[in-house]
C-alpha cells in the first residue's frame, strides 16, 4: 500500500530529502554505538583484568564522551537545517 501511495522513483530533491530522513533516523543509532565504545576500554576491575594495561584516564574519557556529544549535536543541527518542512509532512508515509 505504501508502495502504491508513493511513486517508486522520486525527483532528485525528494530523493535527497528521503536520504536525509534516513540519516536523521540513523543518527541516534550511531550515537548509541559510539557511546558504547567506552565499555570496551581496559579497566582495572574489569573481568579481563589485564593488570599490565593501564586503565583509561578519566580526562581521556571526558574528552571522548563530550567529543561525541558535540559531534552529534552538530550533526543534528545540520540535519534540522537541511530537512524541510514539506518533507516532514510526507515523512510519516515512509519511503
Amino acid at each position: 500500500m505504501k508502495e502504491r501511495a508513493s511513486p517508486v522513483f522520486l525527483e532528485r530533491r525528494s530523493y535527497r530529502q528521503r536520504r536525509l530522513m534516513d540519516a536523521a533516523r540513523l543518527l541516534p543509532v550511531l550515537g548509541g554505538l559510539l557511546w558504547l565504545v567506552p565499555l570496551l576500554w581496559p579497566q582495572r576491575t574489569g573481568s579481563p583484568a589485564p593488570a599490565e594495561v593501564e586503565a583509561v584516564a578519566t580526562s581521556s574519557a571526558i574528552v571522548y564522551i563530550f567529543g561525541v556529544w558535540i559531534v552529534l549535536a552538530l550533526a543534528a543541527l545540520f540535519l534540522s537545517l537541511m530537512l524541510d518542512g514539506k518533507a516532514e509532512a510526507q515523512g510519516g508515509r515512509g519511503d
Binding site: 576500554w41 584516564a57 578519566t58 580526562s59 574519557a61 552538530l74 543534528a76 516532514e88 515523512g91 508515509r93
Partner: protein, 893 residues
C-alpha cells in the same frame, strides 16, 4: 546570620521576579503580543526541566562517588532528542491532533479511551513522581542548611522553620496561580513556560559560572584541571557496563514517559517545527550542564573536608572559597531547578488526577454532565487546584516520612524505573496497531508490581520490608526475594528491578495483545495513532443519534464557560449555514466539540460526556469505515491490478488477432501474386507462340497469317485490358480516385450503359422498370455507368437462357436508391455467390475472356460512391443489387 538573611531576601526577590515574568508573559499572550513566547528557543529551554535539583546538586555528588556514570542520565535524553524523527515527532503530532492532555490521556486515548487504563497510569505516575518531588524539597532544604553551616544563628533559624513546608506551600501557590489559569490544558501555560525558560537560563548560567570558577579560578586552566582529574579518586575509567547501558536506557525511557517531560514536550508544544531546533539545541544544553560536573566534583573532593556531602559541592565549594556571590548564584540555580520541576510535575500530575480520577467520580456521582445544578467548569478547576495541593502534600509527606534519603540520585533512579513501565504501552501504542488495551493493562500491572516489590518498597524510608523478608522472600519463597527474583543473585538492585520489570512488562504486553481482541474504538484509535501522518485531521467522529444540540451546549458551557461555548456553537452553526447558536449535531461538529472538551477534561471523559448525551458510546459507520480504510485501499489496489491484467489479456488478444490477420494478408498476397502472374502469362504464352510461328514458319497461307495475327492482337488487347483493370483496381483500393461529381438523371446513366454494351435486342432483351427517370443523382456518372456496363456485360456473357432477358429495376427504399440487374439465366451457384466479388474469381469453366476483376472493381467503385454492390439471391437468375444513398439526390435539389 547576615548571609542567610541576604540569601532569603535574594530568594524572595527571585521568586518575585519569576511571578512578574510569568504574569507579564500571560498578559502578553492575552494581548496577542506573545509571538516571542512561541519561539523554538523558549520550547528548548522549557525542556530543561529534565535537569532538576537532582541534576544540579546530585550529578556532582554522583560524579564524586562513581565517576563518569552520572553522564548516562544525560546520554539517554540526548539520544532520544537527536532521534526525534523516530518517536518525538509522532508523539507531538498525536498530542496536537488528538488534544492529548497528559501521558495518561495518551495511553487511555490510544487504547479506546479506556478510563481504567487512565486511572492506572495516573496512580503509577503519582506513586512514581511523589518521591521525586520530595527529592526537590529535600535539596532546597539541604542547600539552605549548607548556607547555615557557618552561621549559628541561621542554624537555629533553619531548625525553627520547616523550610520544606514553606517551599512546598510557595510552589503550590505559584502553580495554582499560573498553572490553572486556563482550564484547557491545551491552551499553553505561557506564564509557567516563560518562568521555566528563565529558570533554565539561570541554572545553566549558575552551573557554568561555578564550573569556570573551579577550572580557571581554582585549578588554573584546562590542562592542570585535566591533570588533577586524573590524579583524583575518580581519575581512572571504571564502569559497570550493565549500569552504563541500563541507566542510559532508563533515562531515555523516562525522558519520554515522565509526566512533566510529556507536559513540556507534547502538551505545551506550540509548533511541530520547534522540535527540529530542540533536536540539536537541547542536547547541547545537556552537554553544557554536565560539562563542569566532573571538575567541580574533583575540586570538591580535594578542597572539602572528608565526610562532607558531595551532593552540595556546587554550593559549598564557592562558599569555602569565600565566593559568597557565586554561592548565591549557585543557590539560585539549584532553587530554579527544584522549583521548575515541581511546578511542571504538579501541573502534569494534577491534570491527570483531576481528569482521570476526580472528574469521572464526580460525573458518576452527579449522574452525568448534562443534568444537575452544579457548574462543572468550577469543579474542574477546583479539582485541579486540589490535585496540585495534594501532589505537593504527598511529596512533603514522603520527605518527612523517609527522613531524607542519603543520596539524591538513588531516589531519582527509582522514579525513572517506575515511569519507564509506561514505555511499552506508549511505544507499542504509537508504533504497533496490534497493541490492545488488555495487553497494555496487563503489562503495566506486571511491570508496576515488580517495580514496587523490588525497588520501591525496599528503598522506602530505609526499607519497609523486614530484613527477614528481604533474605528469605515472602512465605519462604526464596525465588521471590526482592533483590534476587528467580534466584538470580548479586545483581545491582536497580538494574535487577528495571530489567525484570521491563522484561516481563514487555512480554506480558505483547503476549496479551497477541491473544486478545480489541474493541472497534480501540482499533480505530490504534489506526489513527499509528498512521497519524496519513490522516491527522479527523480524530473521532460521531454520527446519528438524537443528540439535542441544546443539551450539548448546556453541558459544554459548564466545562468551557458560556462565552467560549456560545461563540464556538455560533461559529459551528455558521459553518453549517444556520443562523443562531444551535448547529445540527453532525459527526463533524460533535468531533470538534469532543476535541474542545478533551482539552479541558481529557479524551476519555470528554468522550464519555458526549456519549452520555448521544445516548450511547457508539462507534459510527464512519469510524468503522476508517478502520476499514486499509482493507479498502488493499481491495482497491487489487482491483486495479485485476483491471490491469485484464487490459493486458485484451491487448494480447488484439495482438494475436492482428498477427492472424497479417498472416492471412500475407497468404492473400502470395495467392494474388501467383494468380496475377498466371493471368499475365497465359496471353503472353499464346502471343509468343503465334509470333514464333509467324517468324519461323515458311509458306504460311495468308488466311493463317491473318488468323495468327488476329490471335496475337486479341491477346494483346486482353493483356492491355487486364493491366488497365489492375491499375484501376489499385487506384480504387488506394483511395486515390478522383470523383467527378455532378447532377444527372439515373435513367440517362442506365441508357448510356445499355448503349455502351451494344446490346442487341435480338440477343438479349433488356426490360427497364421503376421510376428511373425521376431520380436525380449527384455522383460520378462515368463511374456509375462503368458499374452498370460491367453488370450488363456480365449478363450478356453469362446468361445461359434460351432467350436471354435482363431486367433493370429501379426503386427507392428507406432513403436509398436501389438498382437491380436480374437476368433469367441459371444464376450463380450458392457456393460461388460469396466469391464473385473477389479478384480473379471467375465462375469457373466458362470461357468468357474476362480477367475476373470486373466485379471486384465495381464493388470498389460503389464503395467510393457511398453505395454497395451485392448479389441478390432467389430471383430466378443472376441478380445484382446496386444501392446508392438517396441523400445525394437530396443534396442535388
Amino acid at each position: 546570620m547576615a548571609t542567610l538573611n541576604i540569601l532569603i531576601a535574594v530568594c524572595l526577590a527571585y521568586v518575585a521576579l519569576l511571578f512578574a515574568v510569568a504574569f507579564m508573559a500571560e498578559r502578553a499572550a492575552l494581548k496577542g503580543r506573545g509571538n516571542w513566547l512561541r519561539s523554538p528557543w523558549i520550547y528548548t529551554l522549557s525542556l530543561s526541566i529534565y535537569c532538576t535539583a537532582w541534576t544540579f546538586y546530585g550529578a556532582v555528588g554522583y560524579a564524586a562517588r562513581s565517576g563518569l556514570e552520572f553522564v548516562t542520565i544525560y546520554l539517554g535524553p540526548t539520544l532520544v532528542m537527536i532521534g526525534w524523527w523516530w518517536a518525538l515527532r509522532k508523539m507531538v503530532r498525536i498530542g496536537r491532533t488528538q488534544r492529548i492532555t497528559s501521558v495518561a490521556d495518551l495511553i487511555s486515548s490510544r487504547y479506546g479511551k479506556s478510563g481504567l487504563l487512565a486511572v492506572c497510569v495516573t496512580l503509577l505516575a503519582v506513586i512514581g513522581i511523589t518521591p521525586y518531588i520530595s527529592l526537590q524539597l529535600q535539596s532546597v532544604t539541604l542547600s539552605f542548611s549548607s548556607f547555615a553551616v557557618n552561621d549559628p544563628g541561621g542554624q537555629s533559624l533553619i531548625a525553627g522553620y520547616d523550610t520544606a513546608l514553606w517551599v512546598a506551600v510557595g510552589l503550590a501557590m505559584f502553580t495554582i496561580l499560573f498553572g490553572t489559569r486556563n482550564l484547557d490544558a491545551n491552551e499553553r501555560h505561557h506564564g509557567v513556560v516563560m518562568a521555566i525558560a528563565v529558570e533554565a537560563v539561570v541554572k545553566l548560567f549558575a552551573l557554568i559560572a561555578v564550573g569556570i570558577f573551579v577550572v580557571w579560578g581554582l585549578a588554573g586552566g584546562i590542562g592542570p584541571m585535566l591533570a588533577r582529574i586524573d590524579a583524583s579518586e575518580i581519575g581512572q575509567w571504571q564502569m559497570d557496563g550493565g549500569r552504563w547501558v541500563g541507566l542510559t536506557f532508563l533515562s531515555a525511557a523516562a525522558f519520554l514517559t515522565l509526566p512533566r517531560m510529556f507536559q513540556v514536550l507534547v502538551v505545551e508544544n506550540e509548533d511541530e517545527r520547534h522540535l527540529r531546533t530542540a533536536a540539536w539545541a537541547f542536547p547541547t544544553y545537556l552537554m553544557l550542564m554536565s560539562l563542569f560536573v566532573v571538575p567541580i566534583a574533583v575540586i570538591g573532593l580535594e578542597v572539602m573536608p572528608a565526610g562532607s556531602n558531595p551532593d552540595q559541592f556546587v554550593l559549598t565549594v564557592p562558599l569555602t572559597q569565600g565566593q559568597e556571590g557565586l554561592a548565591m548564584l549557585s543557590f539560585l540555580g539549584g532553587f530554579s531547578s527544584a522549583t521548575s520541576m515541581v511546578i511542571v510535575a504538579s501541573i502534569a500530575l494534577s491534570t491527570m488526577v483531576s481528569n482521570h480520577i476526580v472528574m469521572p467520580i464526580f460525573l458518576r456521582l452527579t449522574q452525568g454532565g448534562a443534568s444537575g445544578p452544579s457548574d462543572v467548569r468550577h469543579v474542574v478547576i477546583l479539582a485541579r487546584r486540589l490535585s496540585i495541593g495534594l501532589v505537593l502534600a504527598l511529596g512533603y509527606l514522603y520527605y518527612k516520612i523517609s527522613g531524607g534519603g542519603s543520596a539524591l540520585a538513588a531516589i531519582g533512579l527509582v522514579s525513572f524505573a517506575g515511569l519507564a513501565q509506561l514505555l511499552p504501552a506508549m511505544m507499542g501504542g504509537i508504533f504497533w496497531r496490534g497493541a490492545t488495551r488488555n495487553g497494555a493493562f496487563a503489562g503495566l500491572v506486571v511491570g508496576f508490581a515488580i517495580w514496587t516489590w523490588c525497588l520501591l518498597l525496599p528503598g522506602f524510608g530505609g526499607g519497609v520490608l523486614s530484613s527477614g523478608l528481604m533474605e528469605a522472600g515472602p512465605w519462604g519463597l526464596s525465588w521471590l526475594r526482592p533483590h534476587a527474583l528467580f534466584g538470580i543473585e548479586g545483581m545491582d538492585p536497580l538494574l535487577h528491578a528495571a530489567m525484570w520489570s521491563l522484561l516481563l512488562n514487555v512480554t506480558v504486553f505483547v503476549l496479551v495483545s497477541l491473544v486478545s481482541f480489541p474493541s472497534p474504538l480501540e482499533r480505530l484509535q490504534g489506526a489513527q495513532f499509528v498512521n497519524i501522518f496519513d490522516h491527522s485531521d479527523n480524530p473521532q467522529s460521531w454520527s446519528g443519534g438524537i443528540a439535542q444540540s441544546e443539551d450539548l451546549m448546556i453541558m459544554a458551557q459548564r466545562i468551557l464557560g458560556p462565552e467560549e461555548v456560545q461563540s464556538f456553537f455560533q461559529a459551528e452553526a455558521a459553518r453549517q449555514g444556520l443562523a443562531g447558536y444551535l448547529p445540527e449535531p453532525t459527526p463533524d461538529f460533535l468531533a470538534r466539540l469532543e476535541r474542545e472538551l478533551s482539552g479541558a477534561v481529557g479524551g476519555a471523559t470528554a468522550h464519555a460526556m458526549v456519549a452520555q448525551i448521544m445516548g450511547a458510546a457508539t462507534v459510527s459507520v464512519e469510524d468503522l469505515l476508517a478502520v476499514a480504510d486499509e482493507t479498502a485501499q488493499m481491495m482497491e489496489y487489487s482491483s486495479q491490478l485485476e483491471a490491469k491484467s485484464n487490459e493486458l489479456t485484451r491487448t494480447a488478444r488484439q495482438l494475436r488477432a492482428a498477427n492472424d490477420k497479417l498472416t492471412q494478408l500475407s497468404v492473400q498476397k502470395d495467392a494474388f501474386l501467383s494468380q496475377i502472374s498466371h493471368e499475365l502469362r497465359t496471353p503472353m504464352t499464346s502471343i509468343r507462340a503465334f509470333s514464333e510461328i509467324l517468324r519461323d514458319a515458311e509458306g504460311l497461307e495468308p488466311k493463317d497469317l491473318t488468323r495468327y495475327a488476329s490471335i496475337i492482337h486479341a491477346e494483346a488487347i486482353r493483356l492491355t485490358r487486364l493491366l488497365d483493370d489492375l491499375l484501376d483496381l489499385s487506384v480504387l483500393e488506394n483511395g486515390q480516385v478522383n470523383l467527378n461529381l455532378r447532377d444527372g438523371v439515373l435513367s440517362d446513366v442506365i441508357s448510356h450503359a445499355i448503349a455502351a454494351t451494344g446490346t442487341d435486342m435480338h440477343v438479349m432483351r433488356v426490360r427497364r422498370t421503376g421510376p428511373a427517370s425521376e431520380i436525380v443523382l449527384t455522383t460520378d456518372h462515368d463511374r456509375l455507368a462503368q458499374v452498370f456496363i460491367n453488370l450488363i456485360a456480365n449478363a450478356q456473357k453469362y446468361c445461359d437462357a434460351e432467350r436471354p432477358e435482363l431486367t433493370i429495376d429501379v426503386s427507392r427504399r428507406g432513403g436509398r436508391v436501389i438498382v437491380d440487374f436480374i437476368d433469367n439465366g441459371s444464376g450463380i451457384p450458392p457456393h460461388a455467390q460469396g466469391m464473385v466479388f473477389e479478384k480473379f474469381y471467375r465462375v469457373a469453366d466458362r470461357q468468357a475472356g474476362g480477367a475476373g476483376l470486373g466485379l471486384a472493381i465495381c464493388r470498389e467503385i460503389m464503395g467510393r460512391l457511398g453505395g454497395t454492390l451485392g448479389y441478390l439471391p432467389g430471383q430466378g437468375g443472376a441478380a445484382f443489387r446496386v444501392s446508392l444513398p438517396a441523400a445525394q439526390r437530396m443534396a442535388a435539389q
